[in-house]
C-alpha cells in the first residue's frame, strides 16, 4: 500500500501538535481535490504519534503517510481524563455493545466531528476500528461489564487463582526468615482471602442473573436447556471452590501457618470470609433448586410439544382413534367442560309476576320483543261493483204513535173510532187498527179516560176511551 519510491529514511519526525495543525490545513486542501488523494496509514512507527513521510504540497498528487502505533496510558489520571472526555461516545458504545455495527460516522457525530478524538481513543486501544465500524476494546468492555455487573461470563478461575496464590504465599511465609518480608506475604494472604469472598459472592449473583435471563429470554429450547445445564456445571464448580476455600481457611491443610500467623485481623477476615461463603452456599442451594425447576419446566414444555406433535400427526393421518387410548381416556373423562351448556327451564313464579315491581317492566320488555316487526300485508279487497253503489230506496211508512196521541187528545171522538178514521198516510187494515188501539192504551193510559162502556165493531168488543 505504500506509494512508489517510498523511503522510510526520508521520514522526518514532527511534533504531534505541529502535525495536527499541518494535517488540519492539509485536510481542508485535500477536500478540494479528493479523487487524487491517497492517504496511507501504517503502524509500527516508534516515536511520535503521527509521522508524515513527505508532503508534496506542490505536486498534484499528495501522499500522506501517517503512522500510528499503540499507546499506553501513563497514569490513572490520564486514563480517567481520556475516558471522561469521551464519555458520551463510550457510554453509547457500551450501550450498543451487542449491536455488531456501530458506524464511524455516528461516532463522529458524538465527538462533535472531531476525528482526532476517535483516533486518540483508537491509539490508546480504548476502542477498535473494524472497517467503518467501531467497537469497545475487549479489555475495557470486560472492565465496564464487570463493574456495572452486567457481565454474562462467569469466570470461576479467579477464585482458583487466588487459592493458588494463598497457598504459595503461605509457603513463602513459612520459609521466609525476614520478619518484614514475612509480614508482606501475610498481607498478600489476607488480601487474597478478602477478594475470594467478594468474588464468590459476585459470581453467585452473576450466576443467578444469568440463569434467570437464559430461562426468560432464550427463545431456542434446545439452547436454553444446554445453557442451563452449563450454568449448572458452573454452579457446581463454584460450589467446589467455595468448599475448597472453606477447607483451606479452617486450617486443616495449612495448620502451621494458621497457628503461627494468626492475628486478630486474619481471624476477622476469616470469619467474614466464612460468613460470605456460607451466604454463597445458601444462595447456590437456591440456585440449584431454581435450575432444577427451570429444567423441569423446559422438559415439561418440550414434552408437551413432542407429544402434541405426535398426536397431531396421528390425527392428521386419521389414526388417532385407532392407535391411541384417546377413546378410553375420554370415555372415562367426566369433566363438565365436555357437556353442552346447561339450561334450566324453570317455570315463572306467578306470585312474583303479580307482586314484583320489576316484573311489570320485564313483561313490557318481553311484550315489546314479541311484537312482530313483520308488517302484515292487508289483503286488498276486489273492486266494488257499481250495482252495489246504486241507491235503492225502499219506503216504509211507520206509524208515529205520539202523533196519533196528540191528534186524539185534541179531538173528542173515542179512541177506536178515531183510529179507524185517522189518516195514517197508508191503508190500515182493521186488525192493524186494533193493534194500534191496544198500543196506544198501553202506552198513554195515563192521558186517557177509559170508560166502562163497551162498543162493538166487526165482532170486536172494545172499551170506549176518551181523552182526559
Amino acid at each position: 500500500m505504500f506509494g512508489r519510491g517510498f523511503d522510510s529514511r526520508r521520514l522526518h519526525l514532527v511534533e504531534y501538535q505541529n502535525m495536527k495543525k499541518a494535517l488540519k490545513s492539509l485536510i481542508s486542501r485535500l477536500f478540494s481535490c479528493w479523487p487524487c488523494i491517497k492517504i496511507f496509514k501504517f503502524a509500527q512507527m516508534p516515536g511520535a504519534p503521527f509521522v508524515a513521510s513527505k508532503v508534496f504540497l506542490e505536486r498534484p498528487t499528495w501522499l500522506i503517510f501517517a503512522a500510528r502505533f499503540m499507546k499506553t496510558f501513563s497514569s490513572i489520571q490520564q486514563l480517567l481524563t481520556t475516558l471522561t472526555r469521551e464519555q458520551k461516545l463510550l457510554s453509547e458504545l457500551f450501550e450498543k455493545r451487542k449491536i455488531l455495527s456501530f458506524n464511524y460516522d455516528y461516532a463522529l457525530e458524538l465527538v462533535d466531528y472531531d476525528a482526532d478524538k476517535i483516533t486518540a481513543l483508537i491509539d490508546y486501544s480504548v476502542i477498535r476500528q473494524n472497517g467503518s465500524n467501531l467497537e469497545l476494546d475487549d479489555l475495557f468492555l470486560q472492565f465496564f461489564e464487570q463493574v456495572m455487573e452486567v457481565n454474562e461470563e462467569i469466570n470461576v478461575s479467579y477464585i482458583n487463582e487466588h487459592i493458588q496464590n494463598i497457598k504459595q504465599s503461605i509457603i513463602y511465609y513459612l520459609q521466609e526468615n525476614n520478619e518484614t518480608r514475612k509480614y508482606g506475604y501475610l498481607r498478600q494472604v489476607k488480601q487474597a482471602l478478602r477478594k475470594i469472598g467478594a468474588i464468590a459472592l459476585r459470581n453467585v449473583v452473576d450466576l443467578n442473573r444469568n440463569i434467570d435471563n437464559t430461562f426468560k429470554n432464550e427463545p431456542n429450547y434446545k439452547i436454553k436447556k444446554t445453557k442451563l445445564e452449563h450454568l449448572d456445571e458452573k454452579r457446581n464448580t463454584i460450589y467446589a471452590l467455595i468448599n475448597h476455600t472453606d477447607h483451606l481457611v479452617s486450617g486443616e491443610e495449612e495448620q502451621t501457618f494458621f497457628k503461627v500467623a494468626s492475628d486478630e485481623e486474619l481471624n476477622r477476615i476469616i470469619i467474614l470470609l466464612k460468613l460470605q461463603l456460607n451466604e454463597c452456599r445458601h444462595n447456590l442451594i437456591d440456585i440449584q433448586k431454581q435450575i432444577i425447576d427451570y429444567l423441569n419446566r423446559i422438559k415439561y414444555q418440550s414434552g408437551v410439544i413432542e407429544k402434541l406433535r405426535q398426536i397431531k400427526y396421528l390425527k392428521d393421518q386419521f389414526e388417532l382413534r385407532s392407535k391411541t387410548s384417546i377413546r378410553e381416556l375420554l370415555a372415562d373423562n367426566k369433566a363438565v367442560i365436555f357437556e353442552s351448556n346447561p339450561v334450566y327451564p324453570l317455570n315463572i313464579s306467578l306470585d312474583q309476576l303479580q307482586t314484583d315491581d320489576e316484573a311489570k317492566t320485564v313483561i313490557e320488555k318481553v311484550a315489546k320483543r314479541i311484537r312482530t316487526s313483520v308488517k302484515v300485508t292487508q289483503p286488498l279487497a276486489g273492486s266494488i261493483s257499481d250495482e252495489y253503489l246504486e241507491t235503492q230506496v225502499q219506503e216504509e211508512i211507520q206509524i208515529n204513535l205520539d202523533e196519533v196521541k196528540n191528534s186524539f187528545l185534541a179531538g173528542g171522538n173515542n179512541l177506536f173510532d178515531f183510529i179507524c178514521a185517522y189518516d195514517f198516510g197508508k191503508e190500515v187494515s182493521f186488525d192493524d187498527c186494533v193493534t194500534i188501539y191496544c198500543q196506544m192504551i198501553s202506552q198513554f193510559d195515563t192521558l186517557f179516560k177509559i170508560t166502562d162502556v163497551y162498543n162493538n165493531k166487526q165482532d170486536v168488543e172494545f172499551a170506549v176511551v176518551y181523552p182526559k
Binding site: Y221, Q301, V304, N333, K334, A335, V336, I337, E339
Partner: protein, 189 residues
C-alpha cells in the same frame, strides 16, 4: 353444612363447564379461587351431594361428574378441536402456556413469515364457521378459547390476551393420551 356465601357464584361458573383460575385478570374470579382454596373440603362435600365433583387442578378448579353425561362423539370432537388449536398456538410460540400474553396482531404478523403456521391456521378454518380471512379465523378461534375459559381478554384497548391456568388442563389431557411404543416408531421425526 357450612359453605361460603359465594357458593352460588362458584356453582354458576363451574356448572357451565368453566374453570376458576388463580391467574385470572378478573378480581371476582381470583376471589372465588381463594374462597374455594380455603374451603375446598366443605365445598367438595357440598357439591358432591348434587352430583358434581369439585376438582383441584394446577392452579385451577373445575367440575367433573360421577356419571358420564356427554356422549363420546361429542368429547372426541371437542378433543380434536383442542388438539388442532393447541398445535397451532404451540407453533406460534413454544412457550405458549399458562400465563402467556399475546395479541392477535402479533400472531398475524408472524403468519406472514411462517408458512407452516399459515397452513395450520388455515386448517383451523373448519372451526371458524366459514370465515376466510386469517384475522377472522384467528378471532373465531380465540373467541372459542375464550368461551371455554382457556384465555381471557386482558386489555380491551390493546386487544391483548392472557392464557389462563386452565390451559394446563389441555396440556395434561394431551400428555395423558397413550401412544403405543410401536406406533411411536412409525411417526416421523
Amino acid at each position: 353444612m357450612n359453605v361460603p356465601k359465594h357458593t352460588s357464584d362458584i356453582f354458576e361458573l363451574l356448572s357451565k363447564g368453566q374453570f376458576i383460575c388463580s391467574n385470572s385478570g378478573k378480581d371476582s374470579v381470583r376471589k372465588l379461587y381463594n374462597i374455594i382454596d380455603e374451603n375446598f373440603d366443605d365445598l367438595h362435600d357440598y357439591f358432591s351431594s348434587i352430583n358434581f365433583i369439585l376438582e383441584r387442578g394446577d392452579e385451577y378448579f373445575m367440575f367433573t361428574r360421577e356419571e358420564n353425561k356427554a356422549d363420546l362423539e361429542r368429547k372426541l370432537e371437542a378433543a380434536f378441536k383442542w388438539i388442532d388449536i393447541l398445535d397451532f398456538f404451540k407453533t406460534v410460540d413454544h412457550s405458549f402456556s399458562a400465563g402467556y400474553r399475546f395479541t392477535p396482531s402479533d400472531i398475524l404478523v408472524k403468519l406472514t413469515v411462517d408458512v407452516n403456521m399459515k397452513n395450520k391456521l388455515e386448517g383451523l378454518k373448519k372451526y371458524s364457521g366459514g370465515k376466510e380471512k386469517h384475522a377472522e379465523i384467528l378471532d373465531k378461534v380465540l373467541d372459542q378459547l375464550r368461551r371455554d375459559n382457556f384465555i381471557e381478554l386482558e386489555n380491551e384497548i390493546t386487544n391483548s390476551y392472557k392464557t389462563l391456568a386452565s390451559f394446563h388442563y389441555l396440556e395434561r389431557l394431551i400428555l395423558s393420551i397413550n401412544i403405543a411404543e410401536s406406533v411411536k416408531n412409525e411417526i416421523p421425526e
